[in-house]
Amino acid sequence: GAGVSQSPSNKVTEKGKDVELRCDPISGHTALYWYRQSLGQGLEFLIYFQGNSAPDKSGLPSDRFSAERTGGSVSTLTIQRTQQEDSAVYLCASSLDYTDTDTQYFGPGTRLTVL
């Protein structure tokens, strides 16, 4: 079946502009995660959605970052007033989230470059 998809694959923007990144999880997966991967650093957790529960936003680096998940499926990560330090690959993952060992499947990522 189809895996996690993300769009766009690449996004170049100017400092100060807002960007929206989209994630389509695997059909039937109730949990959705956003991670960020920066050059010279590993993957860092940003936000987690599980079903209809309030999202875990503990990883968002600032209030310029927000995310929503509509209808329990597609998610959009929004970065307002982008800064150069926001340049990174933004990865989305989804899982069934029924047990502690459910595998998180990752999408290909969106490479964001802030000029």
Binding site: G42, E44, F45, D100, Q104, F106, P108, R111
Partner: protein
């Protein structure tokens, strides 16, 4: 997604040899550990996992070893092939009885280069 490019520890291995990738994890309360493989331009791909009540688990050509005493995880790849060239990340998480959600904490990654 492109892998982390700069300042990654690199393991060069001859094709056909065995590879061992090491990871020191941070949280003694973690219950579950995963190894991911990330090829250039792609997202991380699940390889193998292990629960904290185990110390070894084997898959196809891969073995994960867990030493909770020293908080160390390793991934062994048998008969390394050119297709194994990638960046490998370990990840850890706590069970839900300890923490809300299934968020993963990732290690910094190791680049494996397979020489023909």
């Amino acid at each position: 997604g492109e892998s982390v490019g700069l300042h990654l520890p690199t393991l060069s291995v001859q094709e056909g040899d065995n590879s061992i990738i090491n990871c020191a994890y941070s949280n003694s309360a973690s219950d579950y550990f995963i190894w991911y493989k990330q090829e250039s331009g792609k997202g991380p791909q699940f390889i193998i996992d292990i629960r904290s009540n185990m110390d070894k688990r084997q898959g196809q050509r891969v073995t994960v070893l867990l030493n909770k005493t020293v908080k160390h995880l390793s991934l062994q790849i048998a008969a390394t092939q050119p297709g194994d060239s990638a960046v490998y990340f370990c990840a850890e998480k706590m069970s839900r009885r300890k923490a809300a959600g299934n968020k993963l904490t990732f290690g910094g990654g190791t680049r494996v280069l397979v020489k023909p």
